[in-house]
Each structure stands twice: as structure tokens, then as C-alpha cells.
Symmetry: C2
Subunit: 304 residues, 2 copies
Amino acid sequence: MLIGPGDDAAVLAAPDGRVVATTDLLVEGRHFRLEWMSGYDVGRRAAAQNLADVAAMGAVPTALVVGLACPASSPVAWVEELTDGLRDECAVVGASVVGGDVVSADAVTVAVTALGDLQGRAPVRRSGARPGDRVWVVGALGGSAAGLALLRHGDRQLSARYPRLLDAYRCPVPPYVAGPFLADAGATAMIDVSDGLVQDLGHLAAASGVAISLDLSQWAAPPDLVEAAADLGIDVGEWRLFGGEDHALVATVPAAVDLSGDALLIGEVAAGLGVRYDSGVRYDSGVRNDSAPGRDHLGFDHFR
Amino acid sequence: MLIGPGDDAAVLAAPDGRVVATTDLLVEGRHFRLEWMSGYDVGRRAAAQNLADVAAMGAVPTALVVGLACPASSPVAWVEELTDGLRDECAVVGASVVGGDVVSADAVTVAVTALGDLQGRAPVRRSGARPGDRVWVVGALGGSAAGLALLRHGDRQLSARYPRLLDAYRCPVPPYVAGPFLADAGATAMIDVSDGLVQDLGHLAAASGVAISLDLSQWAAPPDLVEAAADLGIDVGEWRLFGGEDHALVATVPAAVDLSGDALLIGEVAAGLGVRYDSGVRYDSGVRNDSAPGRDHLGFDHFR
């Protein structure tokens, strides 16, 4: 940061000569509930989902600018928690909040823009996957959806048995360093899993003009995820395939590259279109277009 | 733009090796009213106020990323008008909308982040004004406040006599090129007038640790501004000194530099603190802390 908060605008170093930029809005009642998440959690999550988008290009996040709309009656402590959460999530990647705007409104809305530096790398787009590539994932799948399902279910005694899943919902832990790592490993395409593995790989497959076959069967789901699914009568495969907001990074990589030990092999790229999956439990092959729980997007196409 | 909408993030050229970034939120009912402004107007204004912040650093705006929260029932035409307005205001400076996020919410909120390139210039901060500098302004003062006052007054026949003032409110016309021009002319400090001339110069004076004496008396207010003020029984000096959202650029420049013909000389910098002004009509000297009409900020300090 060359000039931080307090002027008309911030000034950041962009040593690469290019800058990566992405933005997301979080709206109270749509993307978070004040009774389920502290201001700190909202701050960490708002930062995390934008920083993960930067990482998914193969870049290192450098800075956030943040717009906050909230009622004038909002407790100062809540706003301070939010800024603490933003700051702490930035610190995970060595970034910082360099500017912002706070205005009053009836509902809380957090608008985060993240910037990043490619450090000389070619950006990894969604459109570069080629038949023969293999599909690797780094990071968690399904934990956030499980945490949200527990909170929606509303049984506090039950929820209390799954603190890791509640944390996964409130405060995702994207594998930021995997973004530059996968880029350096030769990733041909990459995306962060914000809307669910099948849906986001569907975006990647469509952009690349390829078909992707998914197979999670060789990777056991974490025991608490399996148990929570059983308790709620939900297929654990649904959370892993369709649950969003864990912000795992998934990339297609040429078959000659073996990332075993650093990433999980979950699929293959072939000629064709769409995403095929078989959770081994109850889904037929095919593309399902569900939105991830908690996300509520509309009209993406206006800006994309 | 190297990579535009449609991926996890956009990638922009930053040839200078630094990037300027600023963000603002506009909230329905606080910063605009849907019955007073079209989607197109909201888009142009949302872009303009952020692009002006970039210019006020001495930089050239390059790109916007935009977050839009709006009811699912919002007419598609309104959203398209908004994006048209954003695009057209960007085109004024050769910038473009490179990415965004659209989500549903009860009220319309537009979150704009603008990025810019310094083209090798030193950024012009608020803190560099020195005693002996002179204060120059480029751009309109008071027109937006007058337009808002006419709309609030609610007399349509009266308003119809002042189309330029209504336009000034709905769609400000910041003098973007004056930002780099004033920087190249040796500006020691600069700010864009978003909250009102006295208030924004107060920020500049405080950041620089100087006193500023303002004198608008040698510059006649535009005739329609004078007439509208008389019609509404308002002191025209109030609009020029305290009216925000015209996004004029005001800079302090060493006394040896004469900008006559390119800018208006409106004051001097001296040792001391604060802003002194005399509209020649009814104000005593002193700093007044009114917010500009239409703006509704709180808690700036959390991010500044």
C-alpha cells in the first residue's frame, strides 16, 4: 500500500504491471443472517470470498476496498467487529484494507472489491481446459452447506455437536496459496467453488467447451460431514457436489502433471459439453442447475 | 482491459506499476430516489463520483467493477439503463466496466469501485498544501444542490424552468481531465467536491495542517443558479459553498503558477487551521459542518 485510507483514493503497488480485480456484495438476510453470524464472521467471509476469486486467477491478493451500508442504529461494536474480520482475513494473505465508504441504509450490505498481483504469471482463466486434462481440487467441499443446513434446522443441541461445520459456514478457509501453486503447476483453467462444485465446474466446462466427468468416490467425506448428513437425513453427496461457499479451488491440469499429495484428483476432461457426476448414492448423470444454499444471484449476465 | 467480465476476476493493465482504487456506495432513498432519477442517471452518477475520486489523485480512470443489489422484481429495463449509464460515463474517460456482481435485495444499492493509472505522476494527496499556495477550482459549484432543492420543493412548473440544474443533480459532469492537468501544474494538494466546497476543503486543510481563506466574490454565479435561489428564497452562496455532488476538482498550487483561463482562483492558503469564507451575503467566517444535501455518511473513520 503506497497511500491507504484517508484520501480521495488509495494507491497500491502493482509491480507486475497488471492488476486483478473482483467484487462481491453480501446482503443481510440473503447472504448472511445477523443472528447466525457475528460482525467478525461477516467481515471474514466477505473478505474470503473475494480474496478467493483473486487466487482463482493464479494471483496473490494485495488489497481490499470496502463499502458498508448499515442502519444508523447499528452498534459501533458490530461495525468494529466487521472491520476486524476484514482485516484478519486480509492478513492471512498479507493483504490489507486500503479504503472504504460507510453509508446508512435500512439493511446491512457489505460490498468488497479485492485486488491482486499476478507476480508475472499468466492469469488462469475458466476457458483453457482441454480434453485429456485432469481435474484437481484443493480445499473443503460441503462443510459450509452442512453448517448452513444445521443452522436452518434450528436444533441447537444438534448443531453444537458440529462446531467445525458451523465454522465452515460462518468463516470459510479458502486455500489461497493453492491459486498461485496450481497456476505454476500448469493449470489450464481454474475456478473457486462459490456456488457448488457441479455448478462452478459447469461454468468452467462451458467457458472451455469441454465435458467434465466428476468422481468423488475415492475420497471419503470427513466423518463429521457424514454424521451431520445422517442426522439431517440428507445425502452427504449433495453437500459435496452442490454446496457452495467453501471456496475450494478447482483446476484442470495436463495429465502429465501429478499433484498427488498437494491436491485431490476428482475428475477428467473430455470432448463434449457439461458436467457428469455420480455421487454413488442417488444422482443420475447430468447437470443440475440448483443454486447453492444461501446464494441468491440474479442477472449475472448484466456484468459478465 | 486484459480480461473482462466472465471470469473469477478481471485483469487490467497497470503500466505505471501502481494502481489507484476508490469505492462508493449509493443507496436508494439516501443517495438517489427512483422517482427523481432514471436507471441511466443513477448509473452515470455512480460512475462519475468514483471516477472523480480517481481524477482527484491526478490519475486517469481505467476501469470500474460494480456491485448491484436490487429487488428481484426490478424491471430488466431499469437494470439495463443503469449499466448503460455506467458504460457511458466510463466512456467519457476511456474506461470500462470490467466486472460485477448482481444480487437480490429489498432496496437498490449500487457499489462502484474505480481504478486508475497515474501515468508516472506522483499522486496528489490532501495533505500537501503549504502556506502561500493558492486555491484553484475547475468545474461547477452548487448546481447539484440547486437541482436537488428544486426536486424537493416539488413544484414541477418551477423545476421545468431550470433543466440545467436538474441535470446537474441527476448526472454530474466532473472535469476529469483537470485531475492530471492540475497534478502536472504542480498541485500540492487536491480533492473533489463531493460533500461541499467548505467541507471538502476542510478535510484538505486538516490533512495539510493549514488554513484556507475562500473568496468566491469575484466569480459571478451562473444566472440560472441565482434565479433559482431567489425563487426558493435560498442564499445562492449556500449552494456554492456547501452544495455537494458536483464533483468539481479543487487544488492548492504554488503561487508562482498562474492557471488563469484554465481554472478559477478562489482562495489562499495560510498558516493556521480551518476554512474561512465570506459569501458576501450572510455567513460569518468560520467552519460549518453541515453535510451536503443528499449525502448521508456515517462512520467514515472506520475505513479512513
